[in-house]
């Protein structure tokens, strides 16, 4: 009888949701030091139907900065120590081609999660994720065709290009963990609902690479983890 009670309690401890113990949060800001490369104006004269969608010409998005040296479009995620996760959410993530530009520029998703690729333009696009770990594919999407549906099974940061419009560039961040965030224009991020434990937090920037920091969460505290990348002028 007593053993059974212990077992039940043990089982409850094992499967109990994080809030039983209080959930921690890791939040912080990603910034840069130095001078980032000047982003180049994109010449879309080849594709007038796209060029006219932009009141002012857009620029490349390799390094997108905000006020106070903030870095946008940085993927911050738990690369080690994350508790076992449920399977990928059934809701799809959407990657849109509009004005010959990828929206969003960096799209994070869970491994195995459905990815929908939408063509909002009046021109044909060619979606070519340059995957190395996952299976590489290359699909044409004429205007007016329904969204493509795909998924990636393995963790990887995948550059995406369009063969018809060479200036188009985006990234898929395929992650095993559900604890990820992409920095906003003020460089901030927040990873909530973390059960107590020791974690490795990794920040990835498409041009500057990755940085990692360890953090220990005990109880329902909020820990601040900031990242700073060294910018390259060229």
């Amino acid at each position: 009888m007593r053993r059974k009670q212990v077992l039940v309690v043990l089982l409850a401890v094992m499967i109990s949701p994080a809030w039983l113990f209080g959930a921690g949060t890791v939040s912080g800001k990603v910034t840069y030091t130095g001078t980032p490369a000047k982003q180049k104006t994109i010449d879309m004269s080849k594709e007038p139907s796209c060029a006219k969608q932009h009141a002012a010409p857009i620029t490349t998005e390799t390094v997108v900065t905000g006020a106070n040296n903030a870095l946008e479009n940085v993927v911050v995620y738990i690369s080690a120590g994350a508790p076992d996760e449920s399977s990928a959410p059934s809701q799809a993530v959407t990657f849109t081609q509009k004005g010959c530009q990828y929206i969003p520029h960096v799209l994070a998703m869970r491994a195995g999660q459905e990815l929908k690729v939408v063509n909002d333009d009046q021109t044909a696009h060619n979606i070519h994720p340059l995957a190395k770990v996952n299976h590489e594919w290359n699909k044409s999407q004429p205007p007016g065709t329904p969204p493509l549906s795909e998924k990636f099974e393995k963790e990887e940061f995948i550059p995406v290009k369009c063969n018809v419009h060479p200036w188009m560039r985006g990234f898929f961040a395929v992650l095993k963990t559900s604890h990820y965030a992409i920095t906003a224009d003020n460089g901030s991020f927040s990873l909530p609902n973390l059960p107590p434990g020791k974690y490795t937090i990794t920040a990835w920037q498409e041009d500057y690479g990755t940085q990692a920091q360890d953090v220990t969460i005990s109880g329902s505290e909020t820990k601040t983890v900031d990242f700073s990348f060294k910018a390259k002028p060229y």
Binding site: K38, K40, T41, D43, S45, K46, T62, S140, P159, W167
Partner: protein
């Protein structure tokens, strides 16, 4: 019966000559005349084309006429009639035909040499504006040397299209490439000679501007060039006319001929965007 065939032959020959003589072969519902010529050398190409048309047309009509005469005269030959052969036999006939056709082709070549050589055999003037044209699947990009008048070296491993480095420049280490101006449209000042240095990034492509009367292939591994002087301001389409892959149909750019002042301010604008 032979006479009837002869008449039909002549009618067909004349009927097919009419649209060519009246220039309606351009009438694809858009234009009744060739696209306007906006280059200094274009008139020579146009003249050569019409000379070729006239010469080939006259020969075509003459051949049809001779055929009609023979059909009319000999179609109704009776079995007992004597078979007549070319004076001297088949050998002489072949030689005569070869000499006739050969001199025709030679005459066209000699006449056309001037139009062709002015573009391809005569080097560009020393002060011609140098622009590099790069063709790659599936877009054209153009590079101006910038204030130092020198093109930075190309490093294929540095090509990063997402970062708009289409040529593979290395501005971090190569000072000459820092002021290079890369654009998606080919802007040129009017009445100034342009030397286009052509470079293929991947497969074969072709640079074709109807109004310039220029069509030149890009060949991977070869440094080719063409030179021209545009004379009329305006925007003209540059299309790839060498099947280069899936996106070939969409491989195009625009040639923008401007006045010198417009060109200078365009250049300034583009330099600030690099």
């Amino acid at each position: 019966m032979g006479r009837l065939f002869a008449v039909i032959l002549v009618v067909i020959a004349l009927a097919s000559a009419i649209p060519i003589v009246t220039h309606t072969w351009y009438a694809s519902g858009i234009s009744l005349s060739p696209p306007p010529d906006i280059s200094k050398h274009g008139h020579a190409i146009d003249e050569q084309l019409s000379e070729t048309m006239i010469e080939a047309g006259l020969l075509f009509l003459a051949a049809q006429l001779v055929l009609a005469i023979f059909v009319g005269k000999f179609a109704d030959r009776k079995p007992e009639d004597q078979i007549r052969t070319f004076p001297g036999g088949a050998k002489v006939m072949v030689i005569v035909a070869l000499v006739l056709v050969g001199s025709e082709i030679l005459a066209l070549g000699v006449l056309g040499q001037k139009a062709w050589a002015n573009v391809y055999f005569k080097p560009a003037a020393a002060d011609a504006l140098q622009i590099q044209a790069q063709a790659g699947q599936f877009a054209f990009y153009f590079r101006y040397p910038g204030a130092d008048r020198k093109f930075g070296a190309l490093h294929p491993d540095k090509i990063d299209e997402g970062n708009s480095n289409f040529f593979g420049l290395d501005p971090a280490n190569d000072l000459e490439s820092r002021d290079d101006i890369v654009t998606g449209e080919l802007a040129v000042p009017m009445n100034r000679e342009v030397l286009l240095l052509m470079h293929a990034k991947d497969v074969g492509h072709s640079f074709y501007v109807r109004e310039l009367r220029i069509q030149q292939d890009f060949v991977p591994g070869l440094d080719l060039s063409v030179h021209f002087t545009a004379t009329k301001p305006g925007k003209y389409e540059i299309v790839c006319t060498q099947l280069c892959g899936l996106g070939h149909y969409n491989m195009k750019a625009y040639l923008n001929v401007m006045t010198q002042e417009d060109f200078d301010s365009w250049m300034k604008q583009k330099a600030s965007e690099q």
